[in-house]
Symmetry: C2
Subunit: 191 residues, 2 copies
């Protein structure tokens, strides 16, 4: 069951990739940067099942959300090889599945690093998980912090993408002063 | 166009995962360990295309081979986080796509490390690429080394899987003395 997208808003599917828990969040973001929760949840796969079956379960869960909520864009948290080697390959495979589904449905996709997400949500790239969750709950006017953490992260990725890409309006106009400063610093760092 | 599987043989799809070039090899392996080439090739994706489109191209290429040649099992080279960080994430994502397709088609899948593949094919886990290619060509009675290298690697992975799993017969009976020695050494190393 989905709710119709508000006129002029951008519907973003955010994914925090993982094999055991893959966070899924869908938000509508308006031109004025206000956002509304459409869906939040987690797709789980059994750690004891063969990898091919686990990936098929994750794919089925993501496809169901795409079919139900018809997002316009998919945003996936970027995975780094140097982080937590034991689980990084499964996380990378799950992120590949999420991006594949976007490609197969003709949806544009983007990846954002954890620090891009934190900076977009809190204005601070080294914010802790609790700060991010608190801001996500505030932005979406939720009564409680989204649970589990993977679900909250997926919402943060979706919001990050909408805000960084400017949502339905131009990018720079949609940035807060903190985000604009961050973007400028990133541009300088790339030179 | 496929050739019918020989009675009592095992048809294995081997995949050397990659985004720019994904090696694909299909072999039939008989109970006496003899093997026959069914298909060899590479699925390429444009390095300039968005990642979601590249993964969809890779998935389309693998699905086409599964539909055409109806393998009974899928074997994928295992990716390690510590190898070549710049491309490892794309390789891991492509391996996830290969495993997903196996899962979605109800086919069992397995991963093998590069040294498992080298040991199975040449009897020596540190064999160089040329040695592996030469043995693959000899086993499959090919007039030339399979090209490109990714395609040869995919055939090696497929042969490795059939031989390690015992193909259509029991595993240990199907091992050469060198492979049995290697397997014993691996068992000892794991203790």
């Amino acid at each position: 069951m989905t709710s119709p997208r508000a006129r002029g808003s951008l519907r973003v599917l955010g994914i925090d990739p993982g094999l055991t828990r893959c966070g899924i969040g869908v938000v509508d973001v308006a031109a004025d940067r206000s956002a509304r929760l459409v869906h939040v949840g987690v797709v789980r796969s059994d750690a004891g099942a063969p990898i091919e079956e686990r990936l098929a379960v994750i794919a089925g869960g993501i496809r169901h959300i795409v079919d139900t909520h018809a997002p316009q864009v998919v945003a996936v948290e970027r995975v780094f090889a140097q982080h937590n080697r034991q689980t990084v390959m499964g996380t990378a495979q799950a992120s590949g599945i999420a991006l594949l589904i976007a490609g197969e449905r003709g949806l544009p996709a983007a990846t954002h690093t954890p620090s891009e997400v934190k900076a977009a949500i809190t204005g601070y790239g080294s914010a802790d998980k609790r700060q991010v969750q608190t801001m996500v709950a505030r932005v979406l006017r939720l009564d409680a912090l989204p649970q589990p953490a993977d679900a909250a992260d997926a919402l943060a990725i979706a919001l990050c993408h909408a805000w960084r890409s400017g949502g339905p309006v131009a990018a720079s106009a949609a940035l807060t002063p903190a985000q604009r400063a961050w973007q400028d610093a990133e541009r300088l760092a790339r030179r």
